[in-house]
Symmetry: C2
Subunit: 741 residues, 2 copies
């Protein structure tokens, strides 16, 4: 599922304005751990860990990665199909072959397939049917597979509608406002939106809210086609006949099986009737290519498109809405309860068996899934092979490591959500962190999103792994790219010699669109998501294939190796560290900056008086103070445990007890930021700091209920939303305080 590419991410960041972009550029903080020593490890343990990590990182190879990807992408493997099942068995068996126990875990969930290809046709004299099919590319052997699922949007209902067509740009609320200004109403019409700037489920919801009776979505060439570069198979970008499949579930309401919100889809569970599911759209939705879209857009009449609506097709867009162009859209879906198969592998912890470090990647794909998601699956298999080698050499991780190959992610994070819902209580007690990789490799540019407590962990691991292309560390390359994208500093006096421009590489905020959502936003498990991006224009198309990867994404498979090394290194540090390397000082700073930006918005909207700004500031100050104390205590205690180890006396036991208390608190702090009541109108989402935005769907909306209230200009909701956030921060502060008592 996952956002298309770094460019889309950048656009998304723009939606959140300077907010995110300024927040994630942070000055280098002073080193709090002795140089060279891994955070959370005492010096000697750190040295052993480093040596073990080097053994681990020597295992993954390009040859092996290439072979995994070749097998995984041999056939299309949509969730619930027998080809999908075959990949589950492959992953299970591979992991078992490395000496790690692994099992299939099955759920019964609502999945629609297209009964037959959808029809999109122009009605009338000069009418005609659109192709709605991706062309065979002779160079790419899998592109002719008869098993490629027709172009459709997951969870579109069946429908049969005929009406004039209106072009609604990205299909977001301001686009409909712009159309209203032109006197164009979409009520009773079919709307044509372009992909981008939001999760596609948002486009469906906004279309429905505005009274449209059908939605067609296309990929404009200015977004991921020829305007970006050469198109497939000459280049990596989307060719004329290619369209983007994808789910239109209302992910921002709740993910997972639409019929079992908050509960696992296992035998005996009570299921909603489909008409009672609140995360499904009621209008038919259909994706098309820009080749097809041109046939609709070029003859359109009605007003010239407003500012910002023009795309990359070679004519001036008009918004339509007139009887000059009427369209017939017919979608026929086969909705069934079908089986999906997660693979769960487990390396038992030696000292803290009931502490779980979880790695997750989905396995199901809309077609071949070379990038999305099986570059990640490949990385997971290579990491598992590395762990297997260490196990053979006698290593046992301190904590339990769980490796999860999710199914049904493309439809709506289904495999991960059902599993997280089934084991919710156990996960709340035991989960240390959830480490996600979805589309792990589509190019050479590292990117990450994470809770702030793991920023240092991510940066540290990327410092220790080589970027294949440049030979620099991944961190260095990532930071250099971050710098390049910064505006030229205005106030720097080069003469002073001070380099105020040094900043850490940017780490984004977690929104949604991949499997970290149930862990972070439903359960409060510290989560991260990372991967290597690039020029990737074949997202969710028939061309997300082995041929594409071998020619554009990662011809040497070196980035698959790097992804495995990095993911495994982060997991091992979390699994083996005596003191958990979570830094809540960074978290406090981040919330503080989110809040500062929100306060500015509130001022602009005359809402400053509506809420208790000081209450929040005080709560944050307390939080940060406790976080700093715990951070100091953690580092001291790790050393104290090491120093007293030989003595094995009371002092040592006290230190160990103290470290356990600190680790337990660090684990519980994120949990405390969730709230059983959940977010306004979407109680499945419980995290008070991070949620996907209502009108972005993928991108994060920090301090979600507070910000949404500001968007809605509701003083009452702002007050109430902020008070819940303050309560969450106070709970988290109390947890941190327990750690040092």
């Amino acid at each position: 599922m996952k956002t298309v590419c770094l460019r889309t991410l950048a656009l998304t960041l723009v939606v959140w304005g300077l907010l995110i972009s300024t927040l994630i550029v942070r000055p280098v903080s002073s080193q709090t751990v002795p140089a060279g020593v891994l955070d959370g490890f005492a010096p000697q343990a750190s040295a052993s860990q480093r040596s073990r990590e080097e053994q681990f990182r020597a295992v993954p190879t390009a040859t092996s990665a290439r072979e995994h990807l070749k097998v995984l992408t041999a056939e299309p493997h949509v969730a619930g199909t027998k080809e999908d099942y075959a990949t589950a068995v492959y992953v299970r068996d591979q992991i078992r072959s490395y000496g790690i126990p692994a099992e299939l875990k099955e759920y019964d969930v609502l999945l629609p397939y297209p009964k037959q290809p959808s029809i999109v046709e122009i009605v009338g004299r000069r009418g005609g049917r659109l192709t709605v099919k991706e062309a065979v590319v002779p160079e790419d052997p899998t592109s002719s597979s008869p098993k490629i699922i027709p172009l459709f949007n997951g969870y579109s209902p069946s429908g049969d509608v005929t009406a004039p067509l209106v072009y609604v740009n990205y299909g977001l609320p301001p686009d409909y406002e712009a159309l209203k200004k032109l006197g164009v109403d979409v009520k009773g019409k079919i709307v044509l939106a372009r992909y981008g700037n939001s999760f596609r489920g948002v486009k469906a919801k906004v279309a429905e809210e505005n009274g449209a009776i059908g939605l067609i979505i296309y990929s404009d060439p200015s977004d991921d086609g020829y305007t970006q570069g050469d198109v497939y198979p000459k280049g990596p970008w989307r060719p004329e006949s290619s369209a983007q499949r994808g789910s239109v579930q209302y992910l921002f309401q709740y993910p997972g099986d639409p019929l079992t919100p908050g509960k696992p889809s296992i035998p005996g569970v009570e299921r909603l009737k489909i008409e009672d599911a609140t995360d499904l759209t009621r209008i038919p939705v259909q994706p098309i290519s820009y080749g097809d879209a041109r046939r609709l857009l070029e003859p359109m009449r009605g007003p010239l498109r407003p500012r910002g609506f023009q795309g990359g097709l070679p004519f001036a867009y008009h918004v339509g809405g007139t009887d000059d162009l009427r369209v017939h859209l017919k979608t026929e879906m086969d909705y069934q309860i079908r089986k999906i198969w997660n693979v769960i592998a487990r390396i038992e912890g030696n000292e803290e068996r009931d502490r779980w470090v979880i790695m997750g990647n989905h396995r199901d794909a809309w077609t071949f899934g070379a990038v999305d998601p099986n570059s990640g699956t490949t990385a997971m298999l290579e990491a598992a092979r590395g762990f297997g080698q260490l196990l053979k050499n006698g290593w046992k991780p301190r904590r339990t490591m769980v490796l999860c190959s999710w199914d049904g992610e493309e439809y709506g994070l289904i495999g991960s959500t059902e599993w997280a819902e089934e084991y919710a209580d156990e996960l709340r007690e035991k989960a240390v962190a959830y480490l996600n990789m979805d589309a792990a490799v589509s190019g050479a540019h590292f990117g990450a999103s994470s809770v702030p407590s793991m920023w240092k962990l991510i940066r540290g691991a990327t410092r220790d792994i080589r970027d294949p292309k440049t030979g620099k560390s991944i961190y260095q390359q990532w930071q250099d790219r971050s710098r390049e994208s910064l505006p030229e500093p205005d106030m720097t006096d080069a003469q002073t010699g001070s380099d105020v421009n040094i900043a850490e590489a940017r780490i984004g905020a977690l929104g949604s669109g991949s499997d970290y959502t149930p862990f972070l936003q439903h359960l409060g498990v510290p989560s991260l998501d990372m991967g290597f991006g690039g020029d990737y224009g074949v997202y969710h198309s028939a061309y997300d294939s082995f041929y594409w990867m071998a020619n554009f994404g990662d011809p040497t498979f070196a980035y698959h190796v790097a992804a495995a090394q990095l993911w495994g290194t982060v997991a091992m540090r979390l699994a083996d560290a005596e003191g958990l390397p979570f830094d809540y000082v960074d978290y406090g700073d981040q919330i503080n900056e989110f809040f500062g930006e929100s306060v500015k918005t509130a001022r602009r909207r005359s809402l400053s008086a509506a809420f208790d700004e000081k209450g929040m500031s005080d709560a944050l100050e307390d939080f940060s103070r406790e976080a700093a104390a715990v951070e100091k205590g953690r580092q001291e205690t790790v050393l104290e445990v090491e120093r007293t180890r030989a003595e094995a006396n009371d002092r040592h036991r006290r230190a160990e007890t103290r470290l356990k208390r600190i680790n337990d608190a660090l684990l519980a702090t994120e949990r405390a930021l969730t709230d059983v009541q959940g977010l306004r109108g979407r109680s499945w989402y419980r995290h008070q700091i991070y949620a996907p935005g209502f009108y972005t769907g993928y991108a994060a909306q920090p301090l979600p209920d507070f910000r949404q209230a500001l968007e809605d200009r509701s003083a009452a909701n702002a007050r109430e939303g902020l008070s819940r956030i303050v309560a969450a921060i106070k709970r988290a502060t109390a947890i941190l305080r327990q750690a040092r008592d």
Copy 2:
């Protein structure tokens, strides 16, 4: 000539970064003249003036304007042709018919015409000749005229070259740098550049500097074609076969007849040999349409275009440079000394006959010139008709008014430059101001560029004239649009109720590209340029026609009327005011801000130590202090003259003498900002504050030699350049000081 449209202007401003955009948004300054009283007039005189202006503004009509434009655009009238001569006679005779003396003024200047249509063809097996011809548009009757001059660039030499083609984006120095990074060298090759972001002569110069042997320039559809809106004749934008003619003279070296720099092209004057002229390119240059450009760009090989090079054609651009695509370019020009004809009309001043207020507009066009320049010619004729009516009613202006219809502007400001050079001494003594309108109307959006001393004058006049479309004042509409384009304020607390967002409408800096250049930048005459812009995609094409204007630019001709009213009003205020309404406080502030921005640039480039920042700041402080004193003295003296008029005693005479001294000083202050030595490497340009940029050509480069030195990272030149600027400011300060002595 003039820049294409407001959008291009906006782009140009971007080139100068936040510099200009922040400078021209200025907080409302406190009103220094009593409310309702015209600046420079005593209250009673102001009332009479207002009543006279109303009489004046009642004269211009849409019917009459339409008729002028119809006549002026009946035939193509390139400078030096018999059709051009016919328009000169028409303008002279019309003005005479209003009771104003008018004469033709002839010059003999170097003008090339194409001997025959240029050839652009692809060499080789899949070769073929490009069309290089604008299509007949059935709806537009003049588009089939056989007299339309073939597509060519003015002052391109004849040439016949064959070589591989390289796409160089806008053809500016950073574009060539980007190509070098890709390993692409243009030496010995033909380059293909797109129009925009600079004067086209700059593209020729940079191509030549980089060793190219030919230059082809095309209009990319993303710049003024379908990406902007519907194309002609469905809409106002450039259609597929249309190309932009235009001069490639090195305007930034010197304008006017290339063979007589600094001297008038009159019988007996010594002329350079053509090969000694330093404002001419040596490589053939040819404009083509985007329809033709597509045939070159689509088959291009070589690296994918770097960031920023992609245009609006529907494929990924490559930069070429390989033998896959070789192009033959042949231009054949007929260079001759030809006659051109200015029309000079004069209304003698009643009290200050030797003070001239000059209005100027060019009359020659590349084709029909409906927008460029004859909307301006029409406005001038209607203003003249208004003056004629006032003269019949007994009005005589205090100062002399001179109305100039320039010829040969399109080739390089030739008519205005030769005239300014011929009458240089007299103009230096007598010229009060030069008021330019070139393309007066291509839409409904008012815009102006000016020396800062006339900002208040422009804003005041626009406050008194109605915007035809909205019924608001032109000022209000202009300001509203300026505000719309401002970013949302970040720091404003709406709760405080203070509207910190109020700002004056923006007035730009004068660069070059129209006839104010010889007046302002060679002679130091305070100048302004203004007009109404809009969606104008047919610039310098066969479609800049009456049909275009009547269907898109100004269907009701109401903006031609508004242009005449505004231009005439500004001229009358300057001609009739007892105290010249020039405000040098604004000028001081503006220079101060230019300098502040330059200092920031200097710091970034470690050049701060190279120049005397304090010397400049002190000079500016003195200048501003004197300017404020003169401003105060001027207003007091105008009142004193009025108050003592009945007495006709010594006191009155002293006040009159004092006012004359102030007026003379205000006139001489701008002169003092010029310098006989001129700018570095281009001594024709004498103004130390304003010049066209070396690498923009149209856009202004404020503090030109200082800024250029910073661009070139030359400490020595920065020091020397700034010292000349400081000297100029000190001369100006001394002049202002004389006013109050």
